[in-house]
Amino acid sequence: MKAPAFDYLAPTSLAGALAALAEHGEAAKLIAGGQSLVPALNLRLLAPGILIDLNGIGELKGVSVQNGHLRLGAMTRHVELERSPVIRQHAPLLAEAIRHVAHPAVRTRGTIGGNLCHADPASELPACMVALGAWFTLAGPDGERRVPANAFFKGVYETDLGPDEILTAIEVPQAGTNRRHAFLELARRSGDYALVGISCTAEMDGDIMARLRPVFFAAGPHPMVADHAASVLNGRKPTAALVQAAAAALADDLSPEGDLQISAHTRIHLARVIFRRAVARLVPEAGLDGPQEVAA
């Protein structure tokens, strides 16, 4: 349970970190909060030659609102999502979701950038970023590029990030007054990774559902956008029968795997349960709670 030996560098600028990454190549590993990396080191799943610490880089910190976007530095810690009034106001979904990510003493160190780059398929934040239509800024030797969240996540622990790149910031379009959200997850113990979870946003045109965007986690190799289910409801007035039909369509949207905790079949079943609950929460005025739960 002890990490293998490695060297350590603590650059104080993004340029310094990029230069170190370029110099050490494959041997280097970035460390942010260390809450996924250090367990992997202690379990000797990884043996980097050198760690490049991002904690001393001011450019990667800070939360601000800039022309219609909430900008989160990659080194924003989980606990800031929980405490920041700016985040609560502009991206309440993130403030709600973060309470399901790990435990208080992990959230004080863990960072959004590290969480997104780690890309655990059962992780909450990637799904939230896809639901919110966030954009990620990646810095590399040739400058910056921006990638939409849904193109960033490629597979299990796999992202679009190049080995010579650093995620510097996340931009979340500000919530319009009409935007609603719902977040639900099932886990065996508070703070554990989800058995299955859903993060979704929607708008209502009167009593008509518009732009419902349900994104599941722990239901496939990366955040899974449930387009089939959404298309059943979008443009219509949500009724219990329609929600049931949409939940049935989830079989076409999700590709969960079974593991020691839960079978793939049960995951799909639970995904349907939380989907119905999520829609009921999104449109409380439609009175969808109740009997349909029994039908599960």
Binding site: I31, G34, V38, L43, H103, P104, A105, S190, G191
Partner: protein, 163 residues
């Protein structure tokens, strides 16, 4: 590989050491500084026995590299005990039998104190939520929640008596 000089504050005293980058803070506290109140259970973040305070926030000392603590302020269960900050919590743990083997207790106390500083009047649900990352293999948790709730009630009563 190359050891690095480290200078930080531990329980109010400045400490200077040479440490290998691979070593986590929990090991350095225990082995180099003799502060064995910080317990190591799993060393991958799941048990909470190693919880300490770093610059005022609770963290896992097994998931924090010692070299990352340059210039930082670290407080362990020894520091919190000596200052008397958690004396009432410790007393409540004794009174309620909230420990048996005691392995989880330092982490529980550090974490519970963090909750009480932020939310002086937590519900039982909030206590359980805040302690969700701390395993106890002996007590079944009920007595621990009792002890934290009793401490909260005691502090609140004292606060209002003083006012």
């Amino acid at each position: 590989m190359t050891p690095r000089p480290l200078s930080f504050m531990v329980n109010g005293e400045t400490v200077r050491l040479l440490v290998d980058p691979r070593r986590h803070l929990g090991d350095v506290l225990r082995e180099d500084l003799g502060l064995t109140g910080t317990h190591l259970g799993c060393e991958h973040g799941v048990c909470g026995a190693c919880t300490i305070r770093l610059d005022g926030e609770i963290v896992r000392s097994c998931l924090t590299l010692a070299v990352q603590c340059e210039g930082a302020r670290v407080e362990t269960i020894e520091g919190l005990s000596d200052s008397g900050e958690v004396a009432d919590l410790q007393e409540a743990f004794r009174n309620r039998n909230a420990l048996q083997c005691g392995y989880c207790t330092p982490g529980m106390i550090v974490t519970a104190q963090d909750l009480l500083l932020r939310h002086p009047e937590p519900t039982r649900e909030e206590i359980r939520e805040h302690l969700s990352g701390n395993y106890c293999r002996c007590t079944g948790y009920h007595a621990i929640v009792d002890a934290v709730a009793a401490t909260a009630a005691g502090r609140t009563a004292k606060g209002s008596a003083a006012a």
